[in-house]
């Protein structure tokens, strides 16, 4: 059983690593934060699998914290992108997409 759970954890980790490499190279900011979201979920999965396999204490608590922080990162990111575009400071280089720059030209998202 231990072996199976460890293999599963390993697979999850490899998948996360591959997806992270792809997402973080994307030009779109929303992809970057998807990487954080994915790491939250899959990190929890890997943690629980390894924690159950090896009986490491604290795995579940760290998983709880990761779940909260992934959602937290998403919220902070979304708020940041929104307030950037609202303030019209989100230049293409900063906010990432040309569309964001175009959006700032008409004064923000929620008039």
């Amino acid at each position: 059983m231990t072996t199976f759970l460890l293999i599963a954890a390993l697979l999850v980790l490899v998948m996360v690593a591959v997806a992270l490499a792809r997402l973080l190279r994307s030009p779109r900011p929303v992809d970057w934060i998807m990487a954080a979201q994915l790491l939250g979920t899959a990190g929890i999965g890997a943690l629980l699998l390894v924690g159950t396999a090896t009986g490491a204490s604290g795995a579940l608590d760290l998983a709880l914290l990761l779940a909260l922080l992934a959602a937290f990162a998403t919220l902070a990111f979304a708020a940041s992108v929104r307030s950037r575009t609202e303030r019209g400071r989100g230049s293409a280089a900063e906010a990432g997409t040309p569309a964001a720059a175009a959006d700032t030209a008409n004064g923000g998202l929620d008039p």
């Binding site: 998807m34 994915l38 159950t52 579940l60 998983a63 992934a70 929104r82």
Partner: protein
């Protein structure tokens, strides 16, 4: 009994892994952010849900299992709202001026589409 529980764990965790894999393949292959987000949320809710379901058979029953279930509820609730938030943020970013109706109810209807 132990055998049955182990078998249950293996089946559920494997299914969860398949869903994770599908989510990751979706993340890698799908063309635009919104469909990638769609793939990601499947891995979020079902993939992790199945892994946790499988692990339920391996932890000590009253408290360990309750904690696992609480964790899954937390992930599902926060993950779905976070997905919604990301989608609406991305939608607003891509959206250009003509399609915009200037109030918040419009924002909501956009993100529910």
């Amino acid at each position: 009994m132990i055998m049955v529980l182990d078998l249950f764990t293996i089946v559920a965790v494997s299914l969860g892994l398949v869903l994770f894999l599908a989510g990751v393949v979706g993340l890698l292959r799908l063309p635009d952010p919104l469909s990638r987000l769609h793939a990601l949320t499947k891995a979020d809710n079902l993939g992790l849900g199945l892994v946790i379901l499988g692990l339920l058979a391996q932890v000590d029953w009253p408290f360990g299992a309750l904690k696992l279930i609480a964790l899954w509820v937390l992930v599902v609730v926060s993950g779905s709202v976070a997905g919604q938030l990301l989608a609406s943020t991305q939608h607003d970013l891509l959206d250009t001026a003509p399609a915009r109706v200037p109030d918040q109810s419009a924002d909501r209807s956009q993100s529910q589409r």
